[in-house]
Structures are given as structure tokens and as C-alpha cells.
Symmetry: C2
Subunit: 499 residues, 2 copies
């Protein structure tokens, strides 16, 4: 039996998905229009949470999952008057009838909408190999994933308390190293989880198909990060595709005389990571092998996907169906350098585009802006950021003739008693001189990430390298050399361009 | 007797002043043209030194004055083939004859030039009050000033070794507080020296004519810095003009039975700082009351000064006399926001403009770019930066209708175990939405200064607040909240502008 909510004269704004984009849209719409009906369907129980904090929760630096939640469901309902329906999965969208159908504990509900936002996010993707279903194989895409991983760590540590902000290689400090554990994938999640596990005393082995970690960054950044991982006793297998996760026989696993395990005892457990060259014994595997946009609902409703496989939108995040918007990890965005659609599923874009949609549906259309593919990561005591177009093939495909330089410069005045180095790869177009991209790496606290802000600005504004050289950036000995490393990179690359 | 150097066919580039602008010009010119004759006259013995590091030398964090020198005179002479004549004071410029006259140990020399750069710098200005000539009254404009101050500190500490990078309030840790000492002026030098002296156990009393320190920054920044100074036991007299420095009678000072003082014993010593309300006993006074451009040589030669009192130049740093350039602290520059001449005597501009002149005189004219009035300072455990136009009267005088907002936001994700806050004042033009200026303050290490880089870029590019809101800045929990504080400031100010 289907219950239909007949709405009054007020517009109804329906949102599918209650994380960053969805709740940013709901909150902004409420601020702009106190009378709008706002209904959010979220299939899980958690909303508006900082998934980016999950590695730090697993590591033990954050004590509760709740602390990752910026606004609770109760606050959304009571303080922001948003009809937030957790535990409701939307199963169908009908753009002709302008309704969505959701299933929850109370049965099915058909909800009419005037404006609809798809904020269905992205999901962790397991590689197409055998063994990913084994016990002891994890991904980190959701709060429940984070909970399971932390429970795994707690069990392995046998009740030993989590350490706080331990940045050292844990195996040197803990009496017994646990593990070994395998991490598949050398992107953000893989690296952050390698740190989280190593800090808890696990012997970590990281497998990366490409010949370097952080493939979206420059080679210099990848090398610096890889060197640091090795210093921290993380074993790296680069250029090493995982062919299979090998498991124990299920029967063996359940032969144990007693069991207080929470998992099902008849499931086979992961025992080894198998590559072309090696078979590495592991007690657990974390898959950090990327995400894909959740687009099923949209596709079923005839909403177009773009060339990246995410939902296509215009500058206002409207899809090919009127009044149906898409924002966040499920949707494309326009790259500020290439002007082409891209899919960069990260938190700021989700927030910004969700917020823009929230304003647009209340009658003041606003563009949410493009993306620069900017990303930052901390790995143990190293920080790195990247932005724009760095890959030369990608730059040429976008019509540029890329030139790059990599410089290493002191992060503070040479005579200043503290400080380290910043390594910056800067890429520009030879003809126009336009800054296309950058990758920066430094010791944690030496400013690679915050310095990337200036280059994001430059990319977005179409700045040339010569113009960047002349930026009047702040200088004082505790913060940089007279020429900040960003300016040093611009000077060196500028020299190339003038030749 | 005048010796005239007759030059060969090669061009001669003569530079007056061997610090940042002068040596940057010499070095760049040499790289661009191996055959150019390059003659630098420097009246002192030190060249190419980081005057910005002097407070850290006095504090004891830097062990030798030599470490402030980036390239030694010998290196300039031998490795860069620059005819560097230290101990030579230029006493006359004749733009018609195209010569400069210098005096050195070997007598007077008349040096013809094809290109001339005036890089005479700026000098510390004492306020027009009685007592600035007393023993125990210091300024910090030169290497020798730094040496004297460090010797003063060493004497006062009676041989006790300098502490390294002590960031605590020294009086709490040292057995006996020395002092009291007075610091007059609440700008960079005054604040950095207040820290340097307090860290060495002096009881520091800072006098500031204005009702706040760091008057070029926002009020929020001034307040944060003042609060921090008080926390570190620096006594602040704000809105307190110093009327006089009172001294002992000279006769009394010389009545002592014995003397191993290096100063002349018959000079009167400073004893008190006198304001309208108070007479504060002090053993020493540091004057941090600003600088003025050294323009005497230029004026005598008929070279025009601009409205700021510094030497006027065009975009290539050429003065009103052909082939005579001026760069660095003695010269004006164009403000990137107002387009008007301004005088901001800071190291980066000196380096950049010197370098540009070095390239221009070798046949490839290059503009050195404008300035944004950007500055950064560390005071104990607080860092602050400012850029652009913040003052509303100044903004209105430049034809803008200024609107400002001040926000305080977390410097890292709220759930991240470390971090603090960043307070940002952002100013924009109401009509165009253009970003005009910003002032940022945070705990040291929480990124106020490096974050200012993004706003410098925005100012320089004529970015609007709405555009700034949409910058795809790097985000990860160890570095910021999803919306970096810079974006939070833009969002809040953007909200005002849309009203």
C-alpha cells in the first residue's frame, strides 16, 4: 500500500542522501526560506558526518564516532525544522510525476517534490579480484566501516588502550607488533589507513598497482611520501597489482573450540595478499581502491550521466530533468582549468554545491563554482597537496603544452632555528604561461598544504607564471624565505618559459 | 684628487647600496649578462643580509650575525664577478655626466655608469622627543644595531648563555628578571623585540601611541596580539605617547669608582620613559618607531620623490632621470588594489624589484609587479598577516565602499586532536564585490600567515568575494575544516554583500 503525502501550497524540496551535499542544501534552503518544506531521505542512521575523519577514528586519535557528526539528526529536525527521515531508502524517482518513492520501517512512502536534489554520494569499490568477500577484508567508505575497523583494531590490541596522536612508528614503541596487515591502494585512504594501522602496532604492507603512491600528485611528491612510509616501517610493493586475496578454508576457521568473535565463524578469513611476484601473509586487508558515484537511482529515472560516469549537471547543478539537481560525490563538476566535466568526489565540493542548490531552489539561483581537483593528505609526519592539471597527457588532451619544474626550498628562513623543506612541482602552459597545476610536499607543519591555497587561486584566476612570480606574498623569517617556496617555483618555471 | 675609471666598450651597471635590492639586481644582471661591468658601492661592511632576522639574533635563537648573510662579499666578488666595494659611501650622483662619486679608504672615486640603481634603503627613525640620544637607547635598523643590542643583552645576562628557541615568558623561568626595559612602538620591530627581550628575562614595557598594536592590521588582530603580549607578561601602554626619554645626569654616571663598561662613561644613561600619565623606570629603550626612505642622494641629484616621500619610479623602477633606477626600501611601488604609489619597505619587494632592474638593464625590460602591502609577524606563540587595504578611510579615499567582516574559525577539523583558531577580517568593496584586504591571526603554526597567500592572490587578480567563496581550496582534517577559514570569511562577507 502506498501512502501519498499531499503537500500544501508551500514548495517541497526533497533531498536524497543526508551527508555533506544533502545536509548543506537542506540547511542553506532553510536559512533562505523559513516556509519551505524540506524532506531528506537517508537510508542509514548517520547524517552530516565527516567521513574524512574516519582514519583518525580508527587510529584512535578521535574517541567517538559521534564526534565526527557536525549536526545531529535531532538538531536538524528540531532546530532547523528539516523533515529528516533516516532509515529511509529511496527506491525510485519519477521525474514526470515529480515524486520519489522511499522505503522505511513504516513501509513505502511516495513523496512529491517541487525541487529534488540527488546527493547519493559515492561508494568504495573493491577491485575485481577473488577474495574481497573474505572475513578480515575491509573498506572505509561509511561510518559503519569505520566502526568495524576500529573494533578490529581494538580486538587485535586486546583491550590495550588507544594511543593519542602517536606519530611515531608504533612498532618501535609497542611491545608486540600485531599484523601483518595489507593495505591495497596508495591513495588518500590507503595512506591514511596505513598510518592508522602502523600507529597501532600493526606491521603494514601496502600494495599499489601503479609504480608510485598518490598518482594524482607529482612524482616528486610521490617519492617523498614513499620514502617517509618506508622510514616509518611500512613495507611498500609498488607496481604490484594484487591478483587475489587468498583465504583460509571456512571449515578450518570454524573448527576452533570456542568463539567469542562477533563475526560469523563459518566465513573464510583472509590469509594472504597474492601478487604476480609474491604471496604476503596478512591477518587483515584494507581496500583503498577508490570510489564510484552512486548513480543507479538517477539512471533508472532517465537522468543523464556525463563522460566520467557521474551525474551530469549544468553550472547550477541541475540535471537534464527540470528541477532535479545533483551535487556531491555522485555528480560531475566543471574543472576550472580545462572547463571540462570532471568527477572529484571530495568534501568541500559536496558542501559548496549542496549549499548552492539550497540557495537556488529558494529562488536566488547561484552557481557553485568549478573544481580544481585540489586535495590534501597527511601521512605520518608529511603533508602534501595537489591542485589543477599536473599530468602532461591530461594537459595536452585539454589543449595545453605543459612544462613543469620541481624545486625544493626551505620552509622558513635558512637562519631560523626551526623549519624544513617544501618541494613544489609547478606546471604551466608554454604558450600562454598559464599556471595549470601544482603538487607540494613538506614535513607536517611546514606548510605545503596551506601554501597550495595560493596556487588554487592562481589556477582559478587564469594567472600566468610571470604574474605568480610577482605576488606580494607575506614574508617573515618564522614562515618562509624572502621568496616563499611558491614564488621560487614560479621563478624557476618562469625562467624556462622565457627561454 | 679624483680618480676617474675609464670604462671599455662594455656597459657599466652601478649600484648604490649592497643590501637586498642592490645585490638582487647585481646577481640577476650577472646571470643575464656575463660581460656587464657591475660595480656596487656599499658604505658599510655587510651586504645582502637578512635584517628581518635581527630580532631572532638578539633573542639568541640565531648564534652569529654571519648566518644572516646569504651571500658573502667574497662570493659576490669571486663567484659572481661583481666589483663590490664595501666601505664606500656614494656622496654625489651626476645624472647629466652619468657618474657617481664615492668616498672610501682609498679616497674619492668618480665612477661612470650606463645604468644606475639607487638601492639606498631606509633608516630607523627616532621620534622627535628629548632623550633619544641617551646611552641605552637603541634602534634596530642595521647589523651593527643588532650587534649592539645583543651585546647589551649579554651584558645584562652577565654571561648566562642565550637560550635556544625559548618561547615561554622568560621571567617565569629565569631566576632573576632583568630590566625593566622599554619598547617604544607596537609595529613589527617593536613586537619582535619585545619577544626577544622578554625571552631573555627582561621585564618589558611596551609603549604605543595608537590605541592598538599593529595598526596596519585589523582591530581583531591587534586585540589578539595585545592579549597574547599581556599573557606573556609584557606590560602594554596603549594610546600612550612617549613625551621624553629621561636620563641620568652625565656626571652621576661617571662617578662610579670603577668601570669596565664599553660605552663612554660620561654619557648620560636612559632612566625612564615619560608619557602624559606615567614615568616608567627603564634600564634600556628600544625604539621601533618606523623607518624613512634614504633619499638625500637622489634629491640632491634632482631625482623626483613621490607623494609618499620615497623615490618615484615607473613600472620598470626607472626614475625621472633616464637609466637611473630606484628599488627597495628607498623607492615607491604601485599598490595592486588602488593602483596608486605606496611605500612599503619590506624585503620581498626589495628583492623582486632589484631583480627586475637587474634584468631590465641587460636588455630585457621586465616589470617587477606591484605590492599589496602584505606583511607577516610572529609574536611569541601568535602569528599574524595582513594584506591589501583594510582601513575604511583609506579604502574610501581610493574610491571604494568598504565592507568588512571578522570571523573566527577552527584551524583544523573540530574533531582533530590538535588545532586552534584563526581569526580573519576580510574587507571588500560593496559595489563590485572585489576583495580589498585581509588581516589574519592564529596561534603560531595554525596557518594565519600561509593562508594569507590565497588572499594576496585574490587581491592581485581583482577577485570578488563570491569568486573567493568558490575557490576549491585543499581540505583534509589535519589542515582545516571542510571550508577553510578563508572560505568561511568569504561566505560571511559574501552574505553581507548579497543583502
Amino acid at each position: 500500500m502506498r501512502a501519498i503525502d499531499y503537500q500544501s501550497m508551500t514548495d517541497t524540496f526533497v533531498i536524497v542522501g543526508g551527508d555533506a551535499a544533502g545536509m548543506a542544501a537542506a540547511s542553506k534552503a532553510r536559512r533562505e526560506d523559513p516556509d519551505l518544506e524540506i524532506v531528506v531521505f537517508e537510508k542509514g542512521e548517520w547524517v552530516s558526518y565527516g567521513a574524512c575523519g574516519l582514519p583518525y577514528y580508527v587510529k584512535g586519535e578521535i574517541q567517538s564516532l559521534e564526534s565526527l557528526v557536525s549536526v545531529t539528526p535531532e538538531e536538524f529536525r528540531e532546530e532547523r525544522d528539516i523533515d529528516l527521515r533516516t532509515g529511509h531508502e529511496v527506491v525510485e524517482i519519477d521525474p514526470d510525476a515529480r515524486t520519489v518513492t522511499a522505503e522505511g520501517d513504516g513501509g513505502e512512502v511516495v513523496q512529491p517534490y517541487d525541487h529534488l536534489l540527488l546527493a547519493t554520494g559515492a561508494e568504495a569499490v573493491a577491485p575485481p579480484i577473488d577474495g574481497t568477500e573474505l572475513e578480515g577484508v575491509y573498506t572505509l567508505g561509511s561510518m559503519s566501516d569505520g566502526k568495524e575497523l576500529r573494533e578490529y583494531v581494538a580486538r587485535a590490541r586486546d583491550g590495550e588502550s588507544f594511543q593519542q596522536a602517536d606519530r611515531g612508528p608504533a612498532c618501535r614503541y609497542l611491545e608486540d607488533c600485531s599484523g601483518p596487515v595489507g593495505v591495497v591502494g596508495g591513495g588518500y585512504i590507503g595512506l591514511e589507513m596505513a598510518e592508522a594501522l602502523a600507529a597501532n602496532g600493526f606491521e603494514v604492507h601496502l600494495f599499489q598497482r601503479s609504480d608510485r603512491v598518490l598518482t594524482g600528485f607529482s612524482e616528486a611528491t610521490s617519492e617523498a611520501v614513499a620514502d617517509h612510509l618506508r622510514e616509518r616501517d611500512v613495507a611498500l610493493s609498488l607496481g604490484s597489482e594484487v591478483l587475489e586475496l587468498a583465504g583460509s578454508e571456512a571449515s578450518e576457521a570454524s573448527d576452533g573450540a570456542s568463539s567469542d568473535r562477533t563475526q560469523s565463524d563459518d566465513a573464510a578469513e583472509v590469509e594472504a595478499v597474492v601478487t604476480a611476484d609474491d604471496r604476503v601473509p596478512v591477518e587483515m586487508v584494507l581496500l583503498g581502491t577508490g570510489v564510484r558515484p552512486r548513480t543507479g537511482l538517477a539512471e533508472d529515472a532517465g537522468i543523464e550521466l556525463g563522460p566520467t560516469g557521474a551525474i551530469a549537471t549544468d553550472a547550477y547543478r541541475e540535471t537534464n530533468r527540470p528541477d532535479v539537481y545533483a551535487a556531491g560525490d555522485c555528480a560531475e563538476a566543471t574543472h576550472v582549468v580545462t572547463g571540462e566535466p570532471t568527477h572529484v568526489p571530495l568534501a568541500l565540493t559536496a558542501n559548496r554545491h549542496g549549499r548552492a542548490v539550497g540557495q537556488t531552489v529558494t529562488g536566488t539561483p547561484v552557481e557553485g563554482g568549478g573544481v580544481a581537483g585540489t586535495a590534501a593528505v597527511k601521512v605520518f609526519d608529511v603533508e602534501a597537496a595537489r591542485t589543477g592539471i599536473l599530468d602532461h597527457d591530461e594537459a595536452r588532451a585539454a589543449g595545453f603544452e605543459p612544462v613543469s619544474e620541481t624545486i625544493t626550498a626551505k620552509s622558513r628562513a635558512g637562519y631560523y632555528p626551526e623549519g624544513g623543506e617544501v618541494t613544489i612541482t609547478l606546471t604551466a602552459d608554454r604558450d600562454s604561461g598559464r599556471v595549470l597545476g601544482a603538487s607540494l610536499v613538506s614535513e607536517y607543519g611546514e606548510g605545503a598544504v596551506h601554501r597550495s591555497h595560493a596556487i588554487v587561486a592562481a589556477l582559478t584566476e587564469g594567472t600566468t607564471v610571470s604574474e605568480l612570480e610577482n605576488y606580494d606574498l607575506a614574508y617573515a623569517p618564522p614562515f618562509n624565505t624572502t621568496w616563499d617556496p611558491v614564488l621560487v617555483a614560479a621563478k624557476v618555471l618562469g625562467g624556462d618559459l622565457r627561454e
